[in-house]
């Protein structure tokens, strides 16, 4: 018995009725100002990455536009050509850092989102199958999931890369391999809960096919937890890709992501030319934090157990 447990605390005033679920979702989400700002920043980041080729002063991978004489310029130095200013300086190869960063952001986001989507499709399908099949199939699948999750993601990714070699496709394979198990576990968990509910029984009585019940009835009801896992895992994927690229076993030099830019700048760090690593790192950091904040708020809003 707790001392603070006294009397009945009146429930806060009920929400105004007559809202669509989506409106209620928006209202709940924007309750946190931090998450709202994070969401706006995330949209801005994604738009910037998308339109990068049209807004940056130079194409950092077009050798004709990059002048090696411009290498390692301090932030705010005008370019040798005089056409524009390197607001954040240049890197070791003379690339404008703003341009290189936005291109890097594009690659980082693309790799993260692509691996996230593939892993989600794969993991969700496997999780659904496990939940629906039950018995032996389920226990074998879940054993594999548990085994995989007991090893750190970075280790699994490093091993795959050691076996497969470098390259964008290899990195995506490695990231998918690392992530699918989280989706499988999440979907299986909620599918198990859902499949015991009466509407599934009703659908069975109507004689609907297994596939239809699985994908049209059970899967949509597993979406809320899945959405949360997608955001968190995408942030993980971006971070992991950056880490692998930093270690020099990720993306090739021809397609430098943020991680590779940081890695390239690291060698100049000790001589005090901090900006080459610092600014790409800041962008990477901001992207990850923003996604995590949005994910946190989604978890709070979508989790029915937490809703008051």
């Amino acid at each position: 018995m707790s001392v603070t447990d006294v009397g009945t605390v009146p429930t806060p005033a009920a929400r105004p009725a007559a809202q669509t679920p989506f409106q209620r979702f928006v209202a709940d989400f924007t309750e946190s100002r931090l998450a709202t700002i994070a969401f706006i920043l995330l949209i801005v980041t994604m738009v910037l990455a998308l339109i990068a080729p049209w807004i940056v002063p130079q194409n950092p991978y077009d050798l004709a536009q990059v002048d090696i004489m411009d290498s390692r310029l301090k932030p705010g130095t005008p370019a040798a050509s005089g056409k524009y200013t390197h607001w954040l300086g240049t890197d070791g190869a003379g690339r404008d850092l703003v341009s290189a960063m936005l291109y890097g952001l594009r690659i980082s986001l693309a790799v993260g989102v692509m691996s996230g989507v593939i892993a989600m499709a794969l993991g969700a399908a496997i999780g659904l199958i496990a939940a629906y099949a039950g018995g032996r199939t389920e226990s074998i699948i879940m054993r594999i999931v548990d085994l995989q999750l007991s090893f750190p993601a970075i280790l699994v990714a490093l091993m795959l890369i050691a076996i497969l070699g470098k390259g964008v496709d290899k990195i995506i394979i490695a990231l998918v391999t690392v992530q699918w198990a989280y989706y499988a576990r999440t979907v299986r968990g909620s599918a198990l809960v859902e499949s015991r509910k009466e509407y599934v029984e009703a659908a069975r009585c109507l004689g609907l096919s297994n596939a239809r019940i699985l994908f049209r009835h059970i899967l949509p009801n597993c979406l809320p937890p899945l959405i949360v896992v997608v955001t968190v895992q995408t942030a993980h994927a971006i971070s992991l890709e950056a880490t692998l690229s930093f270690l020099g076993v990720g993306l090739p030099q021809t397609e430098p992501s943020l991680g590779l830019l940081i890695s390239n700048g690291f060698q100049y760090m000790l001589s005090g030319e901090y900006w080459i690593s610092f600014f790409p790192g800041l962008v990477l950091l901001m992207t990850i934090v923003v996604i995590n904040l949005v994910g946190d708020q989604l978890r709070d809003v979508l989790n029915p157990r937490l809703s008051k």
Partner: protein
Amino acid sequence: MTGADPRKQEPTLAVEGLKTHFFTKAGVVKAVDGVSLHVNPGEILGLVGESGSGKSITGFSILGLIDAPGRIVEGSIRYKGRELTTASDEELRKLRGDRIAMIFQDPMMTLNPVLRIDTQMIETVRVHHRVSKSEALERSRAALAEVGIPSPESRLKNYPHELSGGMRQRVAIAIAFINKPDLIIADEPTTALDVTIQAQILAEAQALCARTGTAMIWITHDLAVVSSLADRIAVMYAGRVVETGRTSEVVSAPRHPYTRGLINSVPSHNARGSRLAQIPGMTPSLMNLPKGCAFRTRCPQAIDVCLETPPIREIAPGREIRCFNPVGAAQPAAAEVAP
């Protein structure tokens, strides 16, 4: 028993006009709102009330164990003449477990699951008395034997989860008695136990009090339990004591309508087959109490004057009620009589 002695003597504990309020975000919860009671040496006082009536909070207030957002806002608590509401945390800590001990409701939760019984007993002795570890261990063994635990030697080496609920409550009682306190506050200590074990514990607690001369406040919602145990009864409703008196008098001739309601709703008082009497309505929210007498809205005898707060008044030696229109009164206390 000596505790029932009506002669003037200094009570072990005297609470006067105690108010403990909780300042929550939703509003102020007046959990205890003007409680006065006293316990004499060696006496057992039954503090009776429904859940949420503030009886447990009264107990915790006496020990100085009210946490934020709760606070004692008014009143005095005197232990052997010493004021406790103004005492420092350290002074209160020294009293707790030594002069005033407490037994909790749920024996499954009161003992620390990861510490052995001997650790939890020895620390209780050693925090208050400068004795050797072996001496403290010996006292612990004796205390366990005192509450009827078989082979206390080996029980001392056990962890709480290795004992049954009844055993654990006996251990908690042994811990409460270990420093031979002047007062024990027992917060529904038998509610969570089986009926047979309940009876054993009651008998043991009573015998222990008699043997050691320890006074006790036995907090309960069960009138049947206290009527066989307590020397005196104080009935609480919505943060206030509404009736006090010797157990036999209160039970046989309740004067407050609420006390009468409580007694009538004990099954044994009703003829078989007839409908069990119950008090209409619900316990009011402590944040939003009715004006005047808090029981007014449920009271069959409410009159106009009940919109005022009734003062506590002595209707016989040692018998006090807080009611304008008590049960069995020829005439209401106030002038205006409801038609």
